[in-house]
Symmetry: C2
Subunit: 239 residues, 2 copies
DNA sequence: GACAAAAGTTGACGGCGCGTCATAATTCAA
DNA sequence: TTGAATTATGACGCGCCGTCAACTTTTGTC
């Protein structure tokens, strides 16, 4: 029956609409600008209807976080396979992260709400599982590279350091610098002219420090980055 | 007149009390648990009196942030002078940051509110300047080490990288990992057993990657860390 | 097509939050 | 002492979230 699907589709479509409006509100003026009352008005329904879709405001935010993490996960998956060389694959992950933050800043900005324990605390277990799933997936993409590198002899894992802990290091440096670049005002005035470039260099430096072959100079790494960038842009659908 | 100072001191003391109560509230249940009404009740005054001291809730939070940043700055200052060797001084900064997060977690947790643009946006320019001051100071402590290292030949700055950008890298890795360690639940389940140790290793790796002399193995770095840790604990007044 | 049950919708309401402001109390200065 | 200046008060306006009893629409059945 067309009647059946009519209503069903309307409800399904509304969920999409809610998230779209909520995202715009969140991005425009931050968390406080996301008001359930205003959201209902913009959606053109009563507030009660909103609560048929999401049990509370936090769940809406975390639904957006999940959308964001999914985008990141897909980009990581692509980046982890863009080369045969393990070192290049690792660098591609860094580049993918950079692209994610710069080209999908609306997702990156929202992704940060996952750190807010107040928001996380009010969410359903189902949602937390989903978030955990995306986190594990992203980490898995990178872990695989590390394991491959060890297998082919490009990398010797330092004693007392697990694969995941090494991934954690790379995660820290990209996450940390991207958050700093994104959330803090006026890094420029502190003498940091090209934060993006600096991050790439630091990641490269860390891999060099681990003796991840082929060890490369900064100039060499820039060439590699340029090549990877071109290939990634194709996969990411840029130009 | 004792009368003059009586009232003055009372008001001054109250400001301290406000911040103390506010900190406890913030730490107990997060930002939402800090309520101006409840704060006034606990303080034993009317709400209006609160607003004689701080123009809004956000200013209270940022005042606490400033206290936190001051603690960090002092610890960085000490760490930057704990050795003659530039590489060790750099490693000491990392250790100081670790101590700050672990021993003064109540400050570290509150420090993160500075990234919240909603809160920052409602603060007075004066406060933002102060925050900027502490940031500059912390960065300065580390920049000095880098410059010293270059001066004595322990480090050659890569072309196209400023001193501040190198500091930014170290900042990113410590900030990033400490935020991840602190704010994200269940890193353990992701296979990261000793995040703190991992962070130290990664910082060390990055410095090795920059060929910051003396380049050291992980085992060697652990010895250096142990020595620095003992000295820092004395300065930080632990045991 | 009629009709009852199920599913979906509504918006007024309770409770709580922040920041204001007229009024009152206190301190200060002469 | 006394009037001006400073400080304290808490009721108030407004906006927020989430609920819920009443209402409307859809669905399934005869």
């Amino acid at each position: 029956m067309t009647r059946i699907s009519r209503k069903q589709l309307e409800i399904q479509q509304r969920e999409t609409d809610i998230l779209q409006i909520a995202r715009r509100m969140l991005l425009s003026e931050g968390y406080d600008a996301l008001s359930m009352d205003k959201l209902a008005v913009e959606l053109g329904t009563a507030k009660g209807t909103l609560y048929n879709h999401f049990p509370n405001k936090e769940e809406i935010v975390l639904a957006l976080v999940c959308q964001a993490m999914q985008v990141r996960q897909q980009m990581f998956g692509i980046a982890s396979m863009v080369s045969k060389n393990t070192r290049e694959r690792m660098m591609a992950i860094g580049l993918a992260s950079e692209h994610y933050v710069r080209q999908h800043s609306e997702h990156f900005a929202i992704e940060q709400f996952v750190s807010n324990s107040t928001i996380r605390g009010k969410s359903k277990p189902k949602r937390q599982e989903l978030i955990r799933h995306f986190e594990t997936q992203c980490m898995g993409s990178v872990s695989t590279i590390v394991q491959d590198a060890i297998a082919v002899g490009d990398l010797q894992l330092p004693s007392m350091l697990t694969v995941q802990e090494l991934v954690f290091g790379f995660w820290s440096i990209t996450f940390g610098s991207h958050v700093l670049t994104f959330d803090r005002p006026g890094l420029n005035e502190l003498g940091i002219n090209d934060a993006w470039r600096a991050v790439r260099m630091h990641g490269c430096s860390m891999l060099n420090g681990f003796n991840w072959l082929p060890v490369m100079t900064f100039e060499g790494s820039e060439v590699v980055f340029a090549g990877l960038d071109a290939r990634l842009k194709v996969h990411f659908g840029l130009e």
